[in-house]
């Protein structure tokens, strides 16, 4: 480990110089290869710090990952009245979890986005059509309980997954403007409400 650290600065310099020349070519290619279409505008091709770091995950250091996570943590907006899920409607949460719509160039701008949760997660044990890119969340609160810690963590994870794992595959639903605070509360109810089929 120590040996790696000593070599790292040198390797890093070489790596960066190489990556920059290559990165310029890629950027040029991206600029000439994409066009805006409706709400899918060209500014979507510009990366923020997290996206940049996670496009080359092999070169991301542990320290840099923690730094990014700390910065992302600061973006999380917690519910001001402490209402994490009790005021949410699990039935609405189901609709949001099931819908993968929104933000594409064929979606109507301004219409409510889905969370697309089922694309990657199992939730209601009776729902067979679920993806496996993320962990299986069937029986979420039945298994994990409803402690303040797990409830807060879940809100934060939905709001900005990168606060907990810099290069998570999961979108930053709250920070990225995909879901509203109200929608997140509905999804939270879908996960935590004892009446929700997720916990049956």
């Amino acid at each position: 480990m120590k040996k790696m650290l000593m070599i790292a600065p040198l390797a890093l310099c070489a790596g960066v110089a190489f990556a920059d020349a290559d990165g310029d070519k890629l950027q040029k290619m991206i600029q000439s290869s994409f066009k805006a279409n409706g709400q899918a505008t060209m500014d979507r091709m510009v990366q923020d710090e997290v996206q940049k770091a996670c496009s080359n995950p092999d070169t991301l250091t542990e320290a840099r990952a923690r730094e990014l996570e700390a910065a992302e943590m600061k973006t999380i907006k917690w519910p001001s009245d402490g209402n994490y899920w009790e005021g949410g409607d699990w039935k609405e949460g189901y609709k949001i979890a099931f819908s993968g719509r929104g933000l594409t160039w064929t979606d109507k701008p301004g219409s409510a986005n889905g969370g697309g949760c089922y694309n990657c997660h199992g939730l209601d044990p009776a729902e067979m059509s679920y993806g496996t890119i993320g962990p299986n969340l069937q029986g979420y609160a039945k298994i994990r309980g409803r402690s303040e810690e797990i409830v807060k963590y879940t809100w934060g994870k939905i709001y900005n997954a990168k606060a907990y794992n810099a290069c998570s595959d999961m979108p930053r639903n709250g920070y990225g403007g995909i879901l509203t605070e109200e929608q997140i509360r509905h999804v939270m109810a879908y996960l935590f409400d004892p009446e929700s089929p997720v916990n049956k």
């Binding site: 066009k35 899918a40 933000l103």
Partner: protein, 267 residues
């Protein structure tokens, strides 16, 4: 056929009862369905239409495409797709099949590429390109995928394609790699190929372009990539643009040595 799936799933539901068993049986039923649709692939209709287009005088120059050079010499179609994308001296570009067909249509027939680039999938001249694609690809069925990664221009596109594959952007932070860099994952019930490995790339590249039973449409690789990016929530890739070609070089390069089985039929 759809009834078959429903029946199979229902039978599984009654017999299974256990969630895992049901998921396995559903997957098995889907796999059986995929096998069934290979036997009567409607892409054959596109192949036939493309074959006719190839020899029909068209465009302002009223010429056929029989002198089109797909890399193996003017008019050689058999086996040509299995070696694409490739570098073409006359255009000074690495080209995939669709961009190469645009070159031939413009130079031989006088059909402006702009019309195709600014067109819509499955319509007008871009729709005709799709039929031509079906024909040309079908003439490589059973051929070994052999993209020349020793050529410096092709190699460069391979490296850029790999970088593009990992490039995360847009409101959902997605890259191609989000869904296609791990073995055995799926979106909903759809299995996802791991395109960073030879096996997954060979299965994917070797079966596209394809007829999609779910929407009764024949899709080219340009169409497939366009929809991948749509779902990634990026801006729209331009038809035949370098990034689409670079990604194709990356996939085809990873698939090298595999077998071309396209046009295939997909769920």
């Amino acid at each position: 056929m759809k009834k078959g799936i429903a029946t199979a799933a229902l039978t599984a539901a009654i017999a299974g009862g256990v969630t895992g068993a049901l998921a396995d049986d559903t997957a098995a039923a889907l796999e059986q369905y995929r096998q069934m649709i290979q036997d009567s692939n409607p892409a054959e209709l596109n192949e036939m239409a493309g074959e006719e287009l190839w020899v029909t005088p068209r465009g302002p120059k009223n010429a056929t495409l029989e002198q089109c050079d797909l890399g193996l010499g003017p008019g050689v179609v058999e086996g040509a797709y299995a070696q694409m994308p490739r570098y073409f001296e006359d255009t000074g570009r690495v080209q995939d099949l669709e961009s190469r067909l645009m070159t031939c249509m413009e130079t031989l027939q006088g059909i402006p590429s702009e019309e195709i680039i600014n067109g819509k999938f499955r319509q007008g001249e871009r729709g005709k390109v799709a039929d031509l694609v079906a024909y040309v690809v079908g003439q490589s069925r059973g051929a070994k995928i052999q993209v020349d990664l020793d050529h410096p221009k092709v190699k460069e596109m391979f490296e850029l394609g790999k970088q593009a594959f990992w490039y995360r952007s847009g409101p959902m932070d997605f890259a191609c790699a989000t869904c296609h860099a791990t073995d055995g994952e799926r979106i909903r019930m759809q299995d996802l190929p791991n395109l960073t490995k030879h096996e997954g790339a060979a299965a994917a590249w070797g079966s596209w372009p394809a007829y999609r039973v779910s929407n009764s449409q024949f899709w080219t690789m340009q169409h497939r990539l366009n929809d991948c990016y749509r779902q990634q929530r990026t801006a729209e890739p331009i038809y035949g643009s370098d990034i689409t070609i670079a990604l194709s070089v990356y996939m085809a390069g990873m698939a090298n040595g595999g077998t071309m089985n396209a046009p295939a039929a997909k769920r």
